[in-house]
Symmetry: D2
Subunit: 440 residues, 4 copies
């Protein structure tokens, strides 16, 4: 966890306090269920539950638990020892027939579910901002670029609508990953329920908003976690895409949009004029990290037999690091898009700078429709287009075409001029917005 | 593509012939739609469709197309040039207003959908075999192992039921990934539909069993592909898990199961007695490869602006390699499980070799339930358990406990013997099977 | 292996013929050594060697060997059976005391060494081209960009000199990786030399240009291969860096350099004017693939005990794929740089377009040296710089500074003009070239 | 950074205090050099140096610097502002002509060099322990296993000698990576030395034990860092290999060695008899993490133009995380090997349990040498070996061979018995130890 890339709400999920509190819930709810089915005395179970409701633990004394763990070298036993002191003799019924993994894995499921909920909310905020800015620039013309080369006009709103659709897909994927991860295992040693019947698991699952793990092997199978972290890696890659777009738009020669630059900010210790897209560069790096956590999560799947503990150290890193980083990145991206300074005039200036080359395809199509073969049409357009290209936008394609008798034989001046109409390219924007945001 | 790790049906998806045939379908169905909406002459569109129905292309002449591409350096133009020769002048209407990406990306979507269908069928076969073998060994006792160390009894059927549940999850994930990838984009340059209206895309999508891409940017966004390949990486990791289980079970000292070893097979050029788990070791390696394709797929997401073509070379590798390898691996795993030689006697022998230590937890619980504190119970069991452990299974935990007065004060002989009952551990097997396979 | 990304010389290394020929050399040289030390009859050893010198194998009949392997399911035995038929009864001495791994691993070492030699030669050609183009543009002014934003002037030659230095480092790393990989193991089952003394290994190693593996365990340890493929991943990342630079330079708005565009080439099926940086985009994708092979190679290290064969399938993919792809990519990059069309006038035009902002740091320094505090100097420069920035290069920083009395109080007009001298920024180019290419 | 996987010395390298102290050194040494060459007043430079020698900074006030950074949003400026207050007016000469990157990148180089020095010392300690334990068990017989299946005898010392050789290679690689990373860049904006001559860089480099970066572009090129982290990934993979070996040896059925289990330690909250290889399982997970940092480091190489800052966030994670984790893992592995409890009797028992099958290859060779063809010899051995295999070690290969007339026709009883001599397999152990540790 890097403090500067952390937000408090997500970081809190990974605090020892939150973890211990979830452990406590698991133990208490399990005892409650055991009381109901007569596995332990009902009165003692009720006493435990009441102690829970009265928050008998109070402040979690992390150093005290750490001190016990230093001796036992076992975290759950250390916690139970500490927590047991807050109870009377009914403490003996805690953890009956359970294993540490029942507690650890179910708690991790709760933490990942909590984390997913924050990430889903992050995505909601991002989607909201993307929609707002997309609608704002729905018809702001912008040159579309393939291979970094001017192609044909789009609108800036379309770019953001694409990003919206992409993050909406990511929301769907993350919601599925959240379901995948949100399971509860209270199945005892090697998962046979020999010492703790499924009813306990079912009760704890319901109390925690989880579903029971159909077959655990002391641990919850790690394909679930692998899918979860792989999904975060996909979301991160989409962040990189949009961040890269902003970085490109802010390049000196392009400068169609800029990250908001606050008054006191210094871009460079040496060059006072600089306004750098540092937030989106930062997001590019953060995306690399979240992606980097995918492979360890995949490697965690192949545990030996019913379980080994090699996954645990990995999860101590990537549980917090992947979710905290992604939360921060989503919030940062939301801020960047929210406050992005957009320069429509510059967009139009760039669009125009190629001497009308961006309309070449339309001319090509018109020639074909006028009866020329595709190959001949292509040759005709290209010989004029190349002159414009080589003039660095000083020549105009429209002018050259008007002077090319082989062209004018098929397409008279008036017809040619029509083909250079910007609105032509924007005529389906409503359709696309309708697909993405729904009809209004 | 490594021939030895390829199966013909999946490999055929990635053949040039299949690719060109899909391209042809896209062009023909697009022309058909254009005819309907009057974008091109209806008669010519009908002529093209008829030519398609009559299979005018016949055998695809790949070398001829390659020869054209060597000149044009453009694959779609090369194909259209070749295919156009099979038509009359109506050929001019092919590809109207479309870009190469419309063809390439939609075709890739079809290929990945076809590949996903094979993989789903592979999973179905694997699930079928897993269920059969799980039911066969539903009550075959087997020592459960955590950390490679004997824990408590499970059954071999439970192991396979776990694998079944894991691959059933993978089936669900893959089905979602298939939906995610199965979209059609016929939106023209930079995706604005300026030269080809959405109706064409909708028609082609329906004809190919795809859904229209809500907003493309000349290309289908690569987050879809990233999700697809990430999902394959998760499936591969589950393969590694089950393969690793078999490798462990086949170890000389364990030998509870063995890959089927055909009569003519030689295990080693030097040591004639050896029967090695080479298929599952091979699967372990194949899983590494499929996982290795995840990161390039994630890196493909951040294309520049409306598109660049950096994703293309990556997909030429991982499209075939990931799907062919995974198909092969799933089939191989299915064969391994199908023919796995299981040794129930050896399983029982191993289970017994620890002098009854596997029942220690039950004793611990019983002592607790008899009124002893958890800590004292633990100490009591551990001091006897350690002696057994150090005897390498020569001493019996039951015998030692019977001789420990502090134990017998709480648990008389008869009670102790009950605690060493194997069936106790298997009493919830029906519940678990019910959860995994449904009640019968 | 993707044919379009393969070059014949590198692909040949991975042909079955080359592999079998190396196997043959290993077996023959081993027999020769065994003859020398009396492990097998000297005459028979000499007969085998003579048969080798006479090329008794002739053309390798791969299908015949495949047919034998289909029965034995063992590749080395299949080859030995086929090759043995070319010999008389002395064939019995082949492979004495050896294991398949002795042959397979040593052969892989030879193949990787051969591959490394080609890659080193590729790097040499790239370095040669980089040096030539760097010297050609040693003093071609070019705006340096940090964060994609104009910073201060550099030269285009400096960019290439940096690339030269980077690839020179990669050459050093690859040479080390080649040494690391080039070892020979002829140590028999589990590597104890029980049945074949070290002298045999030493002889074969010398004959093949390898060093003996100090301690093998039947297999050559895979940390060597991991280091090799990790090094290829670093080289690939440097390729991506230079390819990305070219992609940026070719952007429409920048257009300071372009990939060579051959007369017949079509940039787009739709937009005839387009010249896209498709080679460098392709290189970006290829770099992703070579990087993708690093992790499987790292996962291959942890073999079980003396060996398992999980590494083998991985190496069947990445051995050819990583080396063939990198060879192709290096050659393609060399071609791109060799023929890169450079536009010095456009470079100068871009450099000038910011109204002199690129000289702001020099003014800042001069103000400091004239006695103003750093903070005040910064504020003074920034308030003028911001105006220029906001004018989109229409205002001139020099003009504004000349009109700012707080500035002119410290720096009179003549002094200010001096600070806007381009040569100032290029005065250390000779020093840097001297460091990179050596003094002339 | 995960506190439980951190050791203080390595963690201290990544503390803000250490980073600021290095920044201070860079600024002071640079000023000193500037004074020498007359770039700033010699007296002021001397004053700064004296202030440094007198430790004018004293305790680094991190919160104070953070507070300044919160305003300036620029870390180096924040530090310089804070540190400048400790000086008189000579503070104006600090950072003359330099950029933040000069400070940041050179400081990172110092930190990585410091980290590498600790890791090299870690490797030295590990090598020392491996050598000691290898010599201790140089002749402790142990069954060699390929594919997890008994093959032929080795010694436990040989296993450790192999590990020694592997980590000795890793030491060489890490030493090379340390050299690669240990460069100094003080080259000013975009690396041209326009405002700060190479002499300053050379002075600072010498003072910090670095070499000057031949050509930087404001930043030190990231191929160096990529190589560094890739090397750490290789070391981690070797850790995983040795950790996996221990995990296998500790399996209940094998139990040839065990991690040291301290008296107070509890293996399981449920099963008191368990001693789990938790340290080596933990190491397996830690290796996954260190490997996971390789790809982000490789992705960091392709910065845009002269620099972007996407690498920075990645390095804030992986700089500390990779080095701290690897340091911890190496120390933990050293402890595991140092205190590993080895059971030679159990090793011998396992070795014997296969009824002498481990000697089958020797019989095969002897039959061949007695004149039988390889194929016939193989068949003869295999038909007896298979019976032993199927008896689960109850039958003895030697006994069966003595009863097989086709065998005894070539190999009489005495000869056969010789072939079952364990020492035969160990006769080259001295040779191998000589290669690995040098002759004594």
């Amino acid at each position: 966890m890097i403090p500067r890339y952390s937000r408090p709400e997500m970081a809190a999920i990974w605090s020892p306090e939150n973890r211990y509190r979830i452990w406590w819930q698991i133990e208490v709810f399990a005892a409650e269920a055991m009381g109901k089915i007569g596995m332990i005395p009902a009165d003692d179970a009720a006493t435990i539950r009441k102690a829970y409701d009265a928050d008998v633990l109070g402040e979690i004394d992390v150093p005290a638990i750490d001190a016990i763990e230093a001796v036992t070298k076992h975290d759950v036993i250390a916690f139970l020892t500490w927590a047991g002191e807050k109870l009377g003799p009914e403490r003996r019924w805690l953890h009956q027939g359970m294993t540490s993994s029942d507690v650890l894995d179910t708690a991790l499921a709760v933490q990942l579910k909590q984390a997913a909920d924050i990430l889903l909310a992050d995505l909601d905020r991002l989607l909201e901002v993307l929609e707002r800015r997309a609608r704002e620039h729905k018809r702001t013309p912008n040159i579309g670029r393939s291979h970094g080369i001017h192609a044909e006009p789009v609108t800036f709103g379309l770019k953001l609508a694409q990003a919206y659709a992409e993050f909406a897909r990511n929301r769907t994927r993350l919601a599925a990953a959240r379901e995948d991860i949100a399971t509860c295992a209270i199945s005892g040693a090697v998962g046979t329920f020999a010492n703790v019947p499924p009813a306990v698991e079912e009760h704890v699952a319901a109390a925690l908003g989880l579903t029971p793990e159909p077959v655990s092997t002391q641990v919850i199978p790690r394909d679930r976690h692998a899918m979860f972290f792989a999904t975060l890696g996909v979301v991160a890659s989409s962040i990189e895409r949009l961040a890269t777009e902003v970085r490109h738009l802010q390049r000196t020669e392009v400068l169609e949009a800029e990250e908001y630059f606050s008054p006191g900010q210094k871009g460079s210790s040496a060059m006072p004029h600089k306004r750098n897209p540092v937030l989106t560069e930062n997001l590019t790096g953060l995306a690399r990290m979240v992606r980097g956590y995918v492979t360890p999560a995949l490697e965690n799947v192949a545990l030996w037999h019913e379980r080994d503990i090699s996954h645990s150290s990995v999860e101590r890193y990537i549980g917090p690091d992947a979710t905290i980083t992604l939360d921060f990145a989503l919030a940062r991206l939301t801020g960047v898009i929210d406050k992005l300074v957009v320069y429509p005039e510059r967009m139009m200036k760039n669009l125009d700078r190629m001497g009308g080359l961006v309309h070449s395809q339309r001319v090509l199509l018109a020639l074909t429709q006028a009866g020329l073969s595709r190959e001949d049409s292509y040759a005709l357009v290209q010989r004029n287009a190349m002159k414009v290209w080589e003039s660095d936008g000083q020549l105009s394609l429209l002018d050259l075409l008007k002077q090319d008798p082989e062209v004018t034989a098929r397409l008279p001046d008036g017809k040619l001029e029509e083909l250079f109409d910007l609105d032509y390219h924007l005529r389906r924007v409503d359709d696309i917005f309708g697909r993405v945001f729904g009809r209004e």
